[in-house]
Amino acid sequence: MQKIPVNLAKPGMKLAKPVANDRGIVLCGTGAELTEEMITRLSDMGVKRITVEGHPVDTGDPEKTLSQQIRELDARFKKVEGDPLMGRIKDIFLERLKERAKEA
């Protein structure tokens, strides 16, 4: 799934997460297929970003590579190396990074 600005939404995209307004009231449920009319309405209601299925929009934001992210993780943990609890925490975050990379 990908979070995109509403102005880049296109008819036919499917919501991967419900859309709620400022006050948290759900306007559109997961799985709803967007139409031109819905996109206009969401935008009129002040919704800025929505989460859609797949990865339909190239945001031009170069994502960090997995190895870059792992290097940064290592750097953050450099002062607590060798501590078993901190090592466990680092491993869990490392797993998350790897899973994310697989999903993308």
Binding site: K3, A20, R23, K78, D83, R88, I92
Partner: protein
Amino acid sequence: MTLDQENIRKRVEAMKGVPTLPGIFEKITRLIDSSETAAADIANIISSDQALSAKVLRLVNSAFYGFPGRISNVTHALIILGFDVVKGIVLSTSVFDVMLAEGLFGLWEHSLGCAVTAGVIARKIEHPDPEEVSVAGLLHDLGKVIIKIELPDESSRIEETVEKKQISIYEAEGDILGFSHATVGEWLSKKWNLPHTLSDPIAYHHTPGRARLAPKQTAVVHLANVLIRARGFGVGGDNLVPQIDPKAWETLHISNALLEEIINEMDDKLEDAEDLLCDNGMGNGIKV
């Protein structure tokens, strides 16, 4: 070399709170302290400031509190969350305004992330008041904002020291000032009469063993601060994950499996929280 701590303390206490701290905060504090106050009285005051009530509702309905869509007015927020939480949220909105005005986006993200994480931990360990713990997470680095504003020269030296010596901002503050943002936060929480459930985590999130009145909340915020830094979300002033205090860790009784659940859930929630960051952090302001 350290500064005259007493002198600085006086300077900080003489500030009218955070520079843009609204008079509303003092009114609310007075009302909360009076035993005859009803939720509607406080709600009236908050509601009289449209921008503030919009911010409060936006925050309580965001991913942080876990019940989106349920709170549509300030009275409802007060009843569900309790006076102290709403007071903390009002204070947070002011602190955040200052952070954004000062260009401290990274610290703002760090604070929001810490709030999300503290809320997740509190729920997982079945703490009775996760919303309040979350507000403690929002406010835990309050002192950093004050140091940045009140002591701009020292603040630059602290940043240089972090960079040069590769130490934490907490250590660098000790080197340059002789005290830390946690201490400054403590002064302010006292001055503002924050409940100890907020003031202890603010004062002791780096030294949780010293929390006497709210050790559990403090341990949660301490852990949340470690995890949010481990995640690399926002900027806490340095790029280093601090060591978890073993005693604080023990008091939380978190198994390996639960730790993994906590991290997975915080990671998912942070994605939702990015909505709030996106809307506010890009300089669009908060829509009323």
